[in-house]
């Protein structure tokens, strides 16, 4: 196994990437083959992610499974440097799970199936890359690799919706998502270059995160630099994390995206942003982070309340979940901004928990949309009659979303509140109130669309397919398992939090 550790992280990136490359050579007109091949690749990735997570030694902590491949030597110094810490490990696991789920659920993609899975697997490879790479150049590379396929995935396979007073085409959703995220990337790239310049002024030009962190500890990066660089990272990555007021790409993106893409989008892609704020912003520019955190927690709180209140008056199921994601990512941002061990651990756990929960919700909404061809909660009624299992799974995801104890969301949100209570008490109280508002919109949605006397026009609906049921059941089990016994995740996360906060 020691040999495996040498290459495990490389494999994690390479398997889906190679899968994407190989899939290009599949015959064009056999969608089922493409789907099965993608399942095969995603299943290997899933197993790898589980093994990597289990191989991470939480007793030792720190960065593990390190392996470096030189790419461009002196004087530029870019290396493909792999390494996993306690924050990346649970997210690798999350990506393994959600990627497999998204591929399975994409059985319904029948148009240009092969191309769809090529892009989906490339996206998955990019996400794995961001979580396991320790070099800013490649982090940026993988970040873009994760983001760019979204444009095509939404633009080609998405759906346009007419909301009466306004229209949301898939092209609009794809374009807006792309432009906003690219704008964020530019900010990130400026920040990365600023640090690179600082390191070269110190005589050792490098993109290596660990080296840059060490330089920062030695005082090579001035406080002033850190103060202006941190906002670039916070905003740049923040856009992807759904930071208010740069969140509007997210709900519109969901409305347009096909189900599998929505699952990855809300399940893991938004986590990249939060992960970047911790891994790059906090660790490399801690002095800047300390100065700007009050602003970030303020915006995070706005996210929570604003997202929840907006979700309250949405009728489209995907808009409700989209705004709910904005709200829940607010807890992640709040937890990060506390700079408190419990709050930060809560933020990371919330990333995991929200990833599973929201992917489950989108999977179930996708199943409904597939059959009813509508997502308007005012028109859907009494779905439980014909789609009992779908309703059951959606309800459990909804309960996790409103922070019901016994499900994973509660533990995470509770920890965020705990951290925030120590540091920013009034905002923490607002966060708790946000959780209560969540209960209102989730229960309204359940009462309106899922329960109720039923409408004869929906009597033809059929319940979720075996694949959809399988994915749903697995996700529900994870939600319950983490909610009841969070220790296996938390003891890994704790080590990550320890190393992240060691720089302060």
């Amino acid at each position: 196994m020691a040999n495996f550790d040498q290459v495990s992280l490389l494999l994690l990136v390479l398997v889906p990437l190679a899968g994407a490359a190989l899939a290009m050579f599949l015959p064009k007109d056999r969608p089922r083959d493409a789907w099965q091949f993608a399942i095969f690749v995603a299943a290997i990735s899933f197993v790898l992610s589980v093994v990597v997570f289990l191989r991470y030694d939480y007793g030792a902590g720190g960065v593990q499974m390190v392996r470096s491949y030189d790419w461009i030597g002196q004087p530029v110094n870019i290396t493909l440097h792999f390494g996993l810490n306690g924050i990346g490990a649970p997210l690798v696991l999350l990506n393994g799970i959600v990627l497999l789920g998204a591929v399975l659920i994409s059985q319904t993609i029948t148009r240009r199936t092969r191309d769809f899975f090529v892009l989906l697997l490339a996206l998955g490879a990019g996400v794995f890359g961001v979580f396991v790479v320790r070099d800013l150049f490649f982090l940026f590379f993988f970040y873009e690799l994760a983001v760019l396929p979204m444009y095509l995935l939404i633009g080609v396979w998405g759906s346009s919706t007419d909301f009466g007073t306004f229209l949301r085409t898939k092209e609009y959703g794809a374009m807006k998502l792309m432009l906003m995220l690219v704008a964020g990337s530019i900010l990130i790239w400026v920040g990365i270059l600023a640090l690179y310049v600082a390191s070269s002024q110190a005589g050792d030009p490098t993109f290596n995160i660990d080296k840059l962190a060490a330089l920062q500890q030695d005082g090579a990066v001035s406080r002033l630099t850190q103060m202006w660089v941190f906002p670039f990272f916070a905003l740049g990555f923040g856009v992807l994390a759904g930071l208010w007021p740069f969140h509007t790409w997210s709900p519109d993106g969901h409305v347009a995206a096909p189900t599998g893409v929505s699952m990855l989008h809300a399940g893991v892609l938004m986590k990249l942003g939060a992960f970047g704020i911790i891994q790059v912003g906090m660790i490399l520019t801690p002095q800047g982070a300390e100065v700007w955190m009050p602003v970030l927690i303020g915006l995070g709180t706005v996210n929570v309340i604003y997202g929840a209140i907006s979700a309250l008056s949405q009728n489209d199921l995907k808009y409700v979940i989209g705004y709910s994601s904005v709200s829940h990512m607010g807890y992640v941002l709040m937890g990060i901004a506390t700079l408190h061990p419990v709050g930060l651990a809560g933020a990371v756990l919330q990333m995991f928990s929200h990833g599973i929960m929201t992917a489950l919700m989108f999977a179930m909404v996708g199943a409904i949309y597939e059959r009813a061809h509508i997502r308007d909660s005012m028109i859907l009624n009494g779905l439980i009659k014909r789609m009992g299992t779908t309703t059951f799974f959606f309800a459990i995801a909804g309960l996790a979303s409103l922070g019901l104890p016994g499900l994973s969301g509660f533990i995470a949100e509770f920890m965020v509140f705990t951290g925030a209570f120590r540091t920013y008490l009034p905002l923490a109280v607002l966060g708790v109130i946000g959780a209560a508002i969540t209960a209102v919109y989730i229960l309204r949605l359940l009462a309106r669309s899922f329960f109720g006397e039923g409408d004869p026009q929906w009597d033809h609906l059929t319940d979720a397919s075996p694949v959809e049921k399988g994915v749903g059941a697995a996700f529900v089990l994870i939600l319950i398992a983490v909610g009841v016994w969070p220790a296996p995740l938390l003891r890994v996360i704790n080590t990550g939090v320890e190393s992240a906060l060691a720089v302060f």
């Binding site: 809560g346 019901l404 708790v432 229960l443 309204r444 009462a447 320890e498």
Partner: protein
């Protein structure tokens, strides 16, 4: 005794088993739920025996310095978060345990819950027969009971909160059990959301205690509060926040609105909610966290005032309601108010005693109401003006219901009389005189509405809906009969019986053991009021020799206000429709029109329009460029010429 954790675990396990395998199990798995709670009851009995016996030698047990009661703890590590390795900084990590506490309060509460739940589930076998979701019903029942048992056993605030929320969830599922109809659906949502508003207070209170104590352990928090280390401001704030949670669950004004609507669920569920689960959680929380309340006179006064307002207000509404279950529901609200009042008046033992006595009687009354519905074939509402004289068709139900009503009405030697008497003593002793006057009034009203319900439904003239009434099956009447025995005799545990048992005050007490005592003046007054109320109701509703019509006319205005339940529901509805939803719609519009269409699409439009405008300059014709070059040259020439001049 360490195995007490099994009491809820049986029922927790039963829930998923029934959900998954109901299709193949006999009776859709209902026996599994009953076995689980029965097993819980047996473990409770064994625990009680060992607690009463060998407890002092147990290393896990000690006499608490704060409550004065023997208290046992058992726990095992659950999870740690933050920096658990850094021992020096307590505030950098949280440590959570699965921990249970066993003390007299827990013991009596577990007894009430397991016993009533067992009875209700047996009764439900008959009552729910033929329901298409029979299995689901028992699965949710099992989860409900399990959550409530965990709540009573939890020895840290987080575990308590978890159980607390699960209780809320199960009430949502059971109240909305017949979700095809709008009534149950709305009632379920209302119950969850209203209690959740209170829960915000509870969670904030728990976190506030953590920030100041550094632990979620109740023992630590109580020690800090009792020793004054917490500071009076924080203590009062924490007490009030915990009280908010308690007010939500225990349906105290102004959070009482969900409970009367909760009768939309199957009637046995109401029996469970009103007697043994859910609503007693709030009273239990205040009783459990009493060291925090007792350390703050302001908080105690607030508890008493909230209790009194609730008790009196709900009693008046119960008196004018015409739906049998609604009368019982407001009666519960009123009695919960009395318990809170008692807690606020330092009548800790009296509150717990009344909790028990009321629990048995109210379970009996709701099961009786269910039996009436079963007998007359009603679904949903039972309008007491349309049923009457049921004592001939349903003799057993009539007898047991009357016993419950007499007990709750405070007729001497029945349970309710003794527990109410203890509350009166506490209120009279510790609070200003206005409190005892209003409490007496509440007691009178309480007897009056119970008498009204009992006489109208079972005695007097036959109603239009009662022609085809028939007695309920043996299983239902059997359960009710057992509860009736308790409604009669449970109160006698108050006395100082000869032998080791020193009355309930010698076992369940706060700070110091209390002997049974009887205030003859108060006792006589309360007997006169209670008996007087029953006689009055008999004259009005059975003999019809006294008419209340002139009174109804003279106080028509007041009556309307009370009949509309003081417009509290309307106020809620208005604030949700007009305030919350308006704000939400405005914000959603803002998000689309301002944040998206202006701030996001705006720059995009500017870029596009700039492109359109600039594009005109790129004509592709050579003469245009030549002209530009010529103009540039001329311009530069003029510039140089001007400089040289």
């Amino acid at each position: 005794m360490p195995l007490a954790f099994l009491i809820p675990v049986f029922s927790f396990a039963a829930c998923p088993l029934i959900i998954l395998f109901q299709r193949w199990l006999p009776l859709r798995g209902a026996p599994l739920a009953i076995l689980a709670i029965g097993g819980g009851f047996v473990v409770w009995a064994l625990t009680t025996v060992s607690f009463l016996g060998a407890a002092p030698e147990n290393p896990a047990c000690a006499v608490s310095g704060i409550t004065g009661a023997l208290t046992c703890h058992f726990s095992t590590s659950w999870f740690e978060a933050g920096l658990p390795g850094v021992a020096a900084t307590v505030d950098q990590a949280i440590h959570l345990d699965w921990g249970i506490i066993i003390d007299p309060l827990t013991v009596v509460l577990l007894g009430l819950i397991t016993f009533v739940a067992l009875g209700v589930q047996l009764y439900s076998l008959e009552y729910m027969k033929g329901d298409p979701r029979f299995g689901w019903y028992f699965a949710w029942q099992a989860l409900f009971v399990a959550a409530m048992l965990t709540l009573a056993l939890a020895d840290n605030f987080l575990l308590l909160y978890i159980a607390w929320e699960l209780v809320g969830l199960c009430s949502y599922l059971l109240i909305g059990f017949w979700f095809e109809n709008p009534g149950p659906r709305e009632a379920a949502k209302k119950a969850f959301v209203v209690t959740r508003i209170g829960d915000v207070g509870l969670l904030v209170g728990i976190l506030l205690l953590w920030v100041n104590v550094g632990s979620f352990s109740m023992t630590d928090a109580f020690a800090a509060a009792a020793s004054g280390e917490l500071g009076s401001g924080v203590t009062t704030a924490a007490a009030i926040l915990l009280l908010l949670g308690a007010m939500g669950k225990s349906a105290q004004f102004p959070f009482h609105v969900w409970l009367p609507d909760a009768m939309e669920g199957p009637t046995p569920v109401s029996a469970l909610i009103h007697a043994a689960t859910m609503v007693i959680a709030g009273v239990y929380l205040v009783a459990r966290a009493y060291p925090i309340f007792a350390a703050s006179p302001e908080a105690m006064m607030i508890v008493a005032i909230v209790g009194l307002i609730t008790a009196l207000g709900a009693a008046t509404i119960a008196l004018v309601s015409t739906d049998l279950k609604r009368i019982l529901a407001y009666s519960t609200v009123s009695h919960l108010g009395l318990m809170m009042l008692s807690l606020g008046a330092f009548g800790w033992t009296a509150a717990v005693f009344h909790l028990m006595a009321h629990g048995f009687a109210k379970a009996l009354l709701f099961l009786g109401a269910g039996s009436v519905m079963h007998g007359v074939g009603a679904h949903g509402d039972v309008d007491i003006r349309r049923v009457g004289g049921l004592r001939r068709a349903m003799p057993v139900t009539a007898v047991v219901f009357s016993i419950g009503a007499l007990s709750l009405g405070g007729i001497p030697i029945l349970s309710g009389f003794w527990s109410k008497d203890e509350i009166l003593i506490a209120v009279e002793h510790n609070l200003p005189v206005i409190f005892i006057v209003l409490t007496m009034l509440t007691a009178f009203l309480s007897a009056l509405y119970m008498a009204r319900a009992m006489f109208v439904v079972f005695f007097g003239a036959e109603g239009e809906d009662s022609h085809h009434a028939h007695e309920s099956p043996l299983l239902m009447t059997g359960v009710m009969s057992v509860l009736a025995v308790l409604a009669v005799g449970f109160g006698w545990i108050a006395f100082n019986w000869p032998g080791a048992f020193g009355g309930i005050g010698g076992f369940v007490f706060y700070d110091h053991a209390e002997k049974f005592h009887f205030n003859y003046v108060l006792g006589a007054l309360s007997i006169i009021l209670a008996v007087g109320a029953f006689v009055l109701a008999w004259l009005v509703y059975v003999r019809r020799s006294v008419s209340h019509e002139p009174w109804r006319v003279r106080f028509a205005g007041v009556l309307r206000v009370v009949e509309r339940r003081y417009y509290v529901d309307e106020a809620y509805q208005w604030s949700i429709d007009r305030v919350v939803l308006t704000v939400s719609a405005a914000l959603a519009f803002f998000d689309r029109a301002v944040v998206n269409d202006v701030a996001v699409n705006g720059p995009a439009d500017v870029v596009r329009k700039a492109g359109v405008a600039l594009r005109l300059h790129v004509t592709g014709h050579v003469y245009t460029y030549a002209l530009a070059v010529a103009l540039g040259v001329i311009g530069l020439a003029i510039f140089w010429w001007l400089r040289s001049v």
